[in-house]
């Protein structure tokens, strides 16, 4: 062996290792986020929107409430709002997690057994093109006014984007890595364990990004049509709107919106942890 060549390789190895930084360093990213150019534009937009809202609300007191009216309502009836938000959150958590799990598991089955995709996918599509608003009342008839129809509606809404995205992710494996596995006579299980499962995660997270806001839509819609229990932010919206109680209507809407923001932020946090290895080019952030 020639020593000059190996040392040349080693030098090259050392230089190229320091040459490229990996996974955006947290502190650098934080610094970038703290720079005013990154947060100021959004803040300005919000301030302008709030100002326009306020002007419109003052000019049209019977159309929308002013921001301070909404705020006062939130403070005054904090307990009520909290209780209703808990109900809706429960629906979202239970419904979404079962929908996510069902979607992912069915995607695995379909990815591994093509015949299952051919057998089940048409049915799934038929169910999914049926408007959820139309299904919800029917579910109430079937399952009563309790939580069950709300869980089901939420799960249904989440299920489809999860299924479709997970399936795409499980299928989109690096063909060459797959070739390497095949020459090693890897079993289907080994290919799933080492390649497909983690490899599907960028798509799974893209699916979650669509599914989680939809979960809130699902829960709210279910409460609209199955308001029997008269609990949850969705119910609150319908009841308050029927009474033309603008502050309560909009306070409930604001809380639904807040839930969405919290969910998406949590998702972004988890994504950062799980998908640090993905450059996000394939499916976007």
């Amino acid at each position: 062996m020639s020593t000059t060549e190996t040392s040349a390789l080693a030098v090259q190895a050392a230089t190229s290792a320091t040459g490229r930084r990996f996974s955006p360093l947290a502190s650098a990213k934080l610094k970038q986020n703290l720079r005013w150019t990154s947060w100021a534009p959004a803040v300005i937009t919000f301030v302008i929107a709030a100002a326009l809202w306020q002007i419109t609300a003052i000019a049209n007191p019977y159309v929308i409430p002013t921001i301070d009216q909404v705020w006062m309502s939130l403070i005054k009836d904090a307990d009520t709002y909290w209780a209703n938000m808990l109900v809706t959150s429960l629906e979202v958590v239970v419904g979404a997690s079962s929908g996510i799990l069902a979607g992912f598991i069915l995607a695995i089955i379909m990815a591994e057994f093509q015949i299952m995709e051919r057998a089940i996918m048409p049915l799934v599509v038929v169910v999914m093109v049926t408007p959820i608003v139309a299904i919800a009342p029917a579910l109430v008839v079937a399952f009563g006014f309790g939580m069950t129809p709300k869980f089901i509606v939420t799960a249904l809404v989440v299920f489809f984007p999860m299924l479709v995205n997970s399936l795409a992710g499980l299928r989109d494996v690096d063909d060459r890595a797959l070739d390497v596995m095949k020459t090693l006579h890897a079993s289907r299980w080994e290919i799933f364990r080492d390649l497909r499962f983690t490899g599907s995660m960028p798509y799974v997270f893209a699916g979650l990004r669509i599914a989680l806001p939809l979960a809130i839509v699902g829960a709210a819609v279910a409460e609209f049509v199955a308001a029997g229990q008269q609990a949850g932010l969705g119910s609150l919206v319908t009841i308050a709107a029927a009474q033309a109680n603008l502050p309560v209507t909009w306070a409930s809407i604001a809380l639904l919106c807040l839930m969405g923001v919290i969910l998406i932020s949590l998702l972004a946090l988890v994504r950062e942890r799980v998908l640090w290895w993905s450059d996000g080019a394939a499916v976007g952030r």
């Binding site: 062996m1 020639s2 060549e5 190996t6 040349a8 390789l9 080693a10 090259q12 190895a13 050392a14 190229s16 290792a17 040459g19 490229r20 930084r21 990996f22 996974s23 690096d174 060459r176 890595a177 070739d179 390497v180 596995m181 095949k182 020459t183 090693l184 006579h185 890897a186 079993s187 080994e190 080492d194 390649l195 983690t198 490899g199 290895w277 993905s278 450059d279």
Partner: protein
């Protein structure tokens, strides 16, 4: 052809393969025969569409030949993959980005573990160190340069001690300077770990530098046009490029390639 041990290494006899729908099939490999002895380094070169990658994939068990025989150490390709006797270095490194370099190289040991018995498994650390990647064991592929990634892929193919190595243009994505370093590194390592190597390339100097024999393939349909011996002494260093023998060989290979390409346009 060999006589003493007819099936050691890679043995390809009269292999044909066509692709496409019934009625509009294109013949990609037309009665191809080739054998690679244990410890022999054979390059396959030719214009695109000559079926060199198809031939490699047939030996790797990724494509099944329509007719003919492919044997690896006297076994069918299927039995050979079952026994993990084939190491594949694909065109791109195809490393798993969520695994460290070390865990990427460990992958072949954890897959199909039944075949691990009675073989000389290498220490992944040791092999990576000898590839100049000792400092990169706990790094992730995304932190490495293209050349380093390809070396990890080669280490992954060597680590489970296969008897045959199949490399599909492994250095084609690298720049020329880097490619030279990688070739020498590979040669250096192979010198002390002699496997039967089938190396698909489209670089003439690369083929000469690395091989004992160069298989020149022609297209439409894919066939072996000529097999050229490379009698340059081993171990080889960069100095080989400057020798007259090298230049003569380069002229010969290019001449054959020109003939092959000429047939195509005729």
């Amino acid at each position: 052809m060999e006589t003493a041990q007819p099936h050691a290494g890679v043995y390809i006899e009269d292999v044909s393969k066509s692709f496409g729908p019934e009625g509009a099939r294109t013949l990609v490999l037309n009665h191809v025969s080739l054998s690679i002895k244990m410890g022999e380094f054979v390059s396959v070169i030719g214009p695109s569409g000559c079926g060199k990658s198809t031939l490699l994939k047939t030996v790797a068990g990724l494509i099944e030949a329509d007719s003919g025989t492919v044997k690896v150490d006297g076994m069918t390709v299927k039995a050979a993959t079952k026994n993990k006797m084939i190491g594949l270095v694909p065109q791109s490194p195809a490393l798993l980005p969520w695994r460290t370099v070390l865990d990427n190289v460990r992958l072949p040991m954890t897959v199909n573990p039944k075949a691990n018995a009675n073989r000389n498994l290498r220490d992944p650390r040791e092999i990576l160190e000898s590839f100049g990647l000792g400092a990169a064991l706990d790094k992730y592929p995304g932190q490495l340069s293209g050349g380093m990634q390809q070396r990890v892929a080669i280490a992954r193919a060597f680590v489970f001690d296969p008897s045959v190595l199949l490399m599909d243009e492994p250095f084609s994505a690298l720049d020329e300077m880097n490619r030279d370093a990688q070739r020498l590194g590979l040669l250096d390592f192979w010198q002390s770990n002699r496997k039967a190597v089938m190396f698909v390339t489209h670089s003439v100097p690369e083929a000469i530098m690395l091989s004992d024999r160069i298989v020149v393939m022609g297209a439409h349909p894919g066939h072996i046009a000529e097999i050229i011996d490379v009698p340059l002494p081993r171990p080889r260093t960069i100095d080989v490029y400057a020798t007259d023998e090298f230049r003569d060989l380069e002229g010969r290979v290019r001449e054959t390639l020109r003939e092959v390409m000429g047939q195509k346009s005729a």
